[in-house]
Amino acid sequence: MLTQTSILRVVSKLLIPPIMLFALYVQFHGDFGPGGGFQAGVIFASAFILYALIFGVDNARKVAPAWMTRLMLAAGLLLFAGVGVVTMLLGGDYLDYSMLANDPHTGQHLGITLIEFGVGTTVAGAMITIFLIFDGRLRAEKED
């Protein structure tokens, strides 16, 4: 049994950084190929979930403490809405990205990148939060 666990631990230690890298790749290449915020957020969360499955919820809580996941949840949504407010302050409509730069194309590109990043952050935070709550409850019940 011990060898089985150590194989899992080694393999997951090797796999988790590429998973996070792939999530960032999917996030920022959403313009050129399939991808975008949602997929990237889910893949990023799955790296944390893999860590929590192999190493236990307590270790996972040390890596992703409650304040950080709550911050990720809220910050993504604020970024999204904030971009809209900024475009309104700059003179256009809400979420009209052409106002963000001199050239409308650059403005659109910048706006889309920021928005997708906000979406990815919130989705990742939400998935990690939900899974860690389920898992924390499971450990609490096992200790009863």
């Binding site: 050129f32 190929g33 399939p34 949602f38 989705v123 939400a126 939900i130 709550i133 389920f134 409850r137």
Partner: protein, 127 residues
């Protein structure tokens, strides 16, 4: 037969949808109901995506030399719908955990029996 081959994809989706619907209304276990809801949702998504396909088209990513693209509008709507669906399922599963805590079971008929027992007891205690 021309009609059947053209409409076959809609009919298979309807079959899947009805199976999911049946699971939701007839199964007693709450988790199987949620799985049935998932089946229903996925079949609806397949329906929309199959309506968006154009013969001879490719994925809706602009590239040189490609003339026909598949319609990107259903893809966007379904993307949103998938994520909303998983959010709903997550909340439903959390509710199931709470129901298990409160009633001790997740079979629907046992929960109804416990509910009517509790109602009867409350009415007895009233006056």
């Amino acid at each position: 037969m021309q009609i059947v081959s053209g409409l076959f994809n809609y009919w298979i989706v309807i079959v899947l949808m009805m199976m999911g619907f049946y699971m939701v209304i007839s199964q007693h276990n709450l988790i199987k109901k949620i799985v049935g809801l998932n089946v229903f949702q996925v079949s609806v998504f397949v329906f929309y995506i199959s309506m968006g396909k154009i013969k001879g088209g490719t994925a809706p990513i602009l590239a040189d030399g490609i003339e026909i693209y598949s319609n990107p509008l259903p893809h966007v709507l379904i993307l949103t719908a998938i994520v909303v669906g998983v959010a709903t399922s997550a909340l439903a599963l959390a509710l199931t955990v709470r129901i298990q805590d409160a009633y001790g079971t997740i079979e629907e008929d046992e929960i109804e029996a416990l509910e009517t027992e509790m109602q009867v007891k409350d009415q007895e205690e009233l006056p």
